[in-house]
Amino acid sequence: MPNFRAETRAWLEENCPPAMRTRMPENEQVAGGKQARYLRPEQKQWLDRMAAKGWTAPTWPTKYGGGGLSNDEALILEEEMQDLGCRLPLRGMGLSMLGPVLLEYGTEEQRQTHIPPILKGKIRWCQGYSEPEAGSDLASLRTRAVLQGEHFLVNGHKIWTSNAHHSDWIFCLVRTDPTAKKHEGISFLLIDMDDPGVRPRPIRLISGASVFCETFLENVQVPAGNLVGPLNKGWTIAKRLLEHERKGIGGIASRAATKFEVPLETVAKQFAGERDGQIADPILRDRVAAYSMDAHAFQLTRRRAAEEAEAGAPPGPLSAMFKLQGTELNKRRYEMLLEAEGFQGLGWEGDGFTNDELRFTREWLRSKANTIEGGTSEVQLNIIAKRVLGLPD
């Protein structure tokens, strides 16, 4: 392992452009796809180098272009990237959700077709799960897919589809047997958004950004070979994908602790003053500590879960609470940041406020979605109560 760490570090030092070792503004996140635009050439350069090495998806098999690393090695890579302040070269739903599911449930042909473009950042994916009438009660979804010879004919209405207007393909939950019980008539389909029947319409969020859409599907023709897993057995796959999604969202509080993030206590000292090395306002100080300690206990719990997994324990009940705790903590962090900033945390735009101040306000608004997207906190509590504690329906 010491060898791997040293080699990894040397490679990163040589290949990660200095511009990619800086704090990454929201608008410089790289998600790839046909519409990808790079504000700086180093973004593309960094992506291509990492993709060539397989390290955009470090643990995926090499035969599809992945890094083939063990979990231990992937952790070292992550640590070294954090230590050097390297940006994530690529992110998106292909990497975090669809890829792992295709590796588990896809056919060999589906993997060969879809995995390489995902990890090279050539194709961007979005998630067609939610519908106007199917949110928390996802399994009540109504988008219909009817098998007609070699094709499915798909009609329906998806909503809250993050980045649909910037994506190339959409993975969708569709109803293929309307007569079966609600969990048993659902299938998992991969749909090319080039089809003129797929029309995403952006929706504006409270933070001012437009990151999601409603997506209309009208007489869309989908080759039968794009069905993942057996017909009408899509719910199992859907749930597994959600586990990957929740793991990703739950990690949000730990990503906030990366190298360039300003610690909450520093912000508190800056805006509320400092006395004898302490945050001057004792009540704010106490609240900062209360938050920080909960966040610390959460980090330790994530580490413990990782160690247990490494020691061969089956994925235990701990994973069920990461989405809940991670997102609730992230919201609390932004509440605390704004509280610490006082008047300076209240700006919307303009030069009355610094960039960081404005950023925190926008991110505070964005953080509210954390406990809704990927299954709300209430739904996570339901899952813990049922699956972990075994409480009756």
Binding site: E265, A268, K269, G277, Q278, I279, R285, D286, V288, A289, A290, S292, M293, D294, H296, A297, F298, L300, T301, R303, R304, E307, E308, A311, P317, L318, M321, L324, Q325, E378, Q380, L381, N382, I384, A385, K386, V388, L389, G390, L391, P392, D393
Partner: protein, 371 residues
């Protein structure tokens, strides 16, 4: 700093869980209480615990212990917390053994450690003087008079103080804090009858004369020794509290499945489900913090004090939560003395105040983290 147990620690854990379940269920604590037992724990049980080696986890092998460490002791503490067992684990196996091992002279170790290890000699740390944990506010004085010291002052909330063979007294000397080994019967002692039916005492020292050999550790520099030991005590107590919280939680979840109202199990009501799920999360967070604290102590790591403050805070809050929610979710039966869930709530109040409540630990954590 591992957060999972070694095979050895896991074996200790299994042994301890079986031991307490079989030999000291909560009925044992109830009996001690109802009999007004003058000792407040079973000496026989304590000897059995000593035979299992639990008194020697913090004592070096040269001195007859196993030096197995805090992670091991935490397993025993946690298991004892599951059954709310009254025992001198904290006063003697932790505080006594730790202070003697780190501060004791060869003579002191030779005199005191063998009976401590055998479960024959009970120690008590006489530290607190005010209404809450304040290790830096010590007024009890020890005045040097050439041939020795004279001790004057009062202490309170001295765990196992009323029956301790030896008191370890924190006293103010000319230029700081010094610890003294004082025979228990040299003090005027009054047992405090506590809400959790566990042991504590207030003691008074009136011109108690001790020889220079009674000094434990360096003169005037006792605070550092005390600090290290108090952190161990906080972590060990946090482990015990984790066990109690986990048990109260498990019992409550079981009750939610058993108790029927409106024709269904009350555990099907979402208002209760969500609170149970929250408790589950808090217990898990506490477990991680406790494991991190004891493992940092075992490795003398720099962040040990901060992790201990974190562990005690989480244990305080989580045990209070599980105790209170436990009673509430049991309804009327939870309010009865006959039912055992109330014992957990009573214990929570006392344990959270012992060696640092949440306000104390949070302030300390912030200071250690540089704000």
């Amino acid at each position: 700093m591992p957060l999972i147990l070694s095979d050895e620690a896991r074996m200790v854990r299994e042994t301890a869980l079986d031991f307490f379940r079989e030999r000291s269920p909560i009925t044992a604590l109830r009996k001690l209480r109802d009999d007004n037992d003058p000792v407040g724990f079973s000496r026989d049980l304590w000897r059995q615990m000593a035979e299992l080696g639990w008194t020697g986890f913090l004592v070096d092998e040269d001195d007859g212990g196993s030096a197995f460490g805090m992670t091991g002791l935490a397993q025993v503490m946690e298991a004892s917390g599951r059954t709310l067992t009254a025992s001198p684990l904290l006063s003697t196996a932790l505080l006594g053994a730790s202070l003697l091992s780190h501060g004791g002279s060869d003579d002191q170790k030779a005199e005191y450690l063998p009976p401590l290890l055998a479960g024959e000699h009970i120690f008590a740390l006489a530290l607190e003087e005010g209404t809450r944990h304040a290790p830096n506010q010590i007024a009890l004085t020890a005045q040097s008079d050439g041939s020795g010291y004279r001790l004057n002052g009062q202490k309170t909330f001295v765990l196992d103080g009323h029956i301790a063979n030896t008191l370890i007294v924190a006293a103010r000397t000319a230029n700081g804090i010094t610890l003294f080994l004082v025979p228990g019967d040299a003090a005027t002692r009054k047992r405090l009858i506590m809400v959790d039916s566990r042991n504590a005492a207030s003691i008074r020292l009136d011109n108690v004369k001790v020889s220079p050999e009674a000094v434990l550790g360096p003169v005037d520099q006792g605070a550092a020794l005390l600090d290290l030991t108090l952190d161990r005590a906080r972590a060990a107590l946090a482990a015990e509290m984790l066990g109690s919280a986990n048990e109260a939680f498990d019992r409550t979840v079981q009750y939610l499945k058993d108790r029927k109202q409106f024709g269904v199990a009350i555990g099907s009501f979402q208002a209760l489900k969500h609170r149970a799920a929250q408790m589950f999360c808090e217990v898990e967070m506490t477990r991680s913090a406790v494991l991190a604290a004891v493992s940092a102590l075992d490795q003398n790591s720099n962040d040990a004090a901060a992790l201990v403050s974190l562990a005690k805070t989480k244990a305080n809050d989580t045990l209070l939560l599980c105790g209170n929610e436990g009673v509430q979710m049991h309804g009327g039966i939870g309010m009865t003395d006959e039912h055992e869930i109330g014992f957990f709530m009573k214990r929570s109040r006392v344990a959270q105040a012992t060696f640092g409540d949440t306000a104390f630990c949070r302030d300390r954590y912030a200071r250690l983290m540089g704000y």
